[in-house]
Symmetry: C2
Subunit: 358 residues, 2 copies
């Protein structure tokens, strides 16, 4: 059935039924002019993000499940990057009238799965038709007591990142090159379940010749791009002096943090943590892994600074997924990178910027 056969009211009614929250701080949830909440914490955090068809995503290789999941993750990541906890979600979704109902509910399944991971409640939203492109816009409200901004980095602080960098960018590079058949496989794959099948190899195009890439290399990279999981900053926020999430690219986001803190940075290129799969992929494609890591966006890892004396504590964070790596230090003014051989050069902003060509 198509959306125009069900209508806005029918869809809203069903969403309201499916997304009942048990959070007692929600006085009024979905279904009134506005939601009403009493978060009972000193500070309220608010972030918002938009995903546009043809700009942020390509429906050729992205399922609506992945879109929904990523939308919530991207917003949760911003709240974590402030040292807070994501709590409430409002959604604005625009889709074409002839969209299949299944596509619509798959998106909500992705939203729901991500909401469960971050323990976020849907409290409201707007559902409308669009003329050409699908648009997803979300606002996440969080709470926190100790807020970590981009402004607190001090000279002498060490610079850390969580996880590994550049995997998402590699995932995107693979996805863009896949053959139509391989794209279809990816779109219909339930990544989230642990017992998904090993599909052997994926076929991709490289300069008009068909190649294959091993599923064990491709899978974690593609999954990271399509279903990123935001990093919980709970353990970090006790130590961090400044923090930002890496959404547009490691270097561009680092420079934003430096600008706001009015400091410089020195990054050791060989310390940037890269996953084995990412290194293998870069080798296969003849790409520079450091360049991919420095400029690729949508990793949703946390980039933060902390004084050197508590370095040890940060390196021993309890949470398994929050492996952190020191990649450099805050210096007075210059923004420089040091390569393997010890050669210093200028750190240049690379990453995605809207409205810019090339």
């Amino acid at each position: 059935m198509k959306l125009h056969q069900i209508g806005e009211l029918g869809l809203l009614k069903e969403i309201r039924k499916r997304f009942k929250s048990t959070d007692s701080s929600i006085i009024i949830g979905i279904g009134d002019d506005a939601a009403a909440i009493t978060p009972q914490k000193e500070k309220i955090l608010v972030t918002t993000d938009m995903m546009n068809e043809g700009i942020h995503f390509d429906l050729g290789f992205t399922s609506s499940f992945h879109l929904g999941f990523k939308l919530v993750s991207a917003n949760a990541s911003d709240i974590f990057a402030m040292g807070g906890r994501p709590r409430y979600l409002v959604l604005n979704i625009a889709m074409k009238k002839d969209t299949e109902e299944e596509f619509f509910w798959d998106m909500y399944k992705g939203i729901f799965d991500a909401m469960n991971i971050y323990r976020v409640s849907l409290i409201g939203g707007d559902l409308c038709s669009s003329k050409n492109d699908m648009v997803l816009s979300a606002t996440v409200i969080g709470t926190g007591n100790k807020i970590i901004t981009r402004c607190g980095a001090c000279v002498g602080d060490k610079i850390y990142v969580t996880g590994t960098i550049g995997d998402s960018a590699c995932g995107l590079e693979i996805l863009k090159r896949l053959t139509y058949e391989s794209k279809e496989i990816i779109k219909n794959l339930e990544f989230w379940s642990n017992n998904h099948k090993n599909i052997g190899v994926l076929e991709y195009w490289n300069n008009e010749s068909k190649n294959t890439i091993d599923w064990n290399i491709a899978k974690p990279l593609i999954k990271r791009h399509l279903m990123p999981i935001a990093r919980d900053s709970l353990d970090i926020s006790n130590y961090a002096t400044s923090m930002i999430d890496i959404s547009d690219g490691l270097f561009i986001d680092l420079l934003r943090l430096c600008d706001e803190s009015n400091v410089g940075a020195k990054i050791y290129l060989d310390k940037i943590p890269l996953s084995d799969e990412m290194k293998k992929f870069a080798e296969i494609m003849g790409l520079d892994p450091i360049h991919l890591a420095a400029s690729g966006g949508e990793d949703y890892e946390l980039l933060f600074t902390a004084p050197p004396e508590i370095k040890f504590k940060i390196r021993n964070l309890k949470s398994k997924i929050l492996k952190t790596t020191c990649i450099g230090e805050i210096i007075e003014k210059d923004r420089v990178v040091i390569d393997k051989s010890g050669k210093e050069s200028a750190l240049k902003a690379e990453g995605y910027r809207h409205f810019e060509t090339g």
Copy 2:
């Protein structure tokens, strides 16, 4: 200059400069991963609304100033409809790369002018490019103590509306029919200033013949459609048992309130308040003014219920713009309308619904 020549960062920097807030409850405003606020009131209200090119607006007769203004008004209206005060705004804007800078800043001027009326602060947002259509998505956060929902209407309550109904729908009917030259006049007119010129007449098409409509009739209707002003519910919320804003149409929104309150309603058609200009326009066009008022959307008037014994107090609200009219009463189950002659018939939902054809 076009947006892609300035770039996302340049635009964000300028927005941050222009939208500095003095609200001391804002700890972190624009420019970090999330905004941080401490509203210091018991309840937080959250609402969100989206406006899509080709669905919600037609750039043929809508300026970007009007779009920005209306976006803020529509969201403020939802907060007022809960008995709250709008306080903070986050924005997601998507525009094509080749958009002129002037168009972009005109939209922000509209947003800014509306923000000033409602005393709302911009605390964050996302700016991105779109492939085809312009999209505006806003979330407004408000505060309130006594929250008025759609659920509290009781049998015996009177039903009230603020202002006059159907003006916005008439404004849209005029706008759609205007000649190209008249549309251009409207787009470039600064409605907000009181000393705008009287442009005499507007030319419009009616069944392939060119007609004119007097500016004094057209102006208030067009202004109401392009630059609606949300109604402050401060005085109402002491008395109201339930409330909703009229955004999709008087009858469809009344039925929503009835559904949520699990009651019926009896509406006296000849009591629905109509402006003189609206009646004149309907006469000229040979349209039924009551039908226009019942089904036309985007009036952003408040529809509320209150016990009959305090009727007098509500009718004498202090604020000039908040003229209220009793249009009927809450009854047990049925939803009926009574026409001038006293004839009763079923009240049918008429109004705009997304995804539905026709």
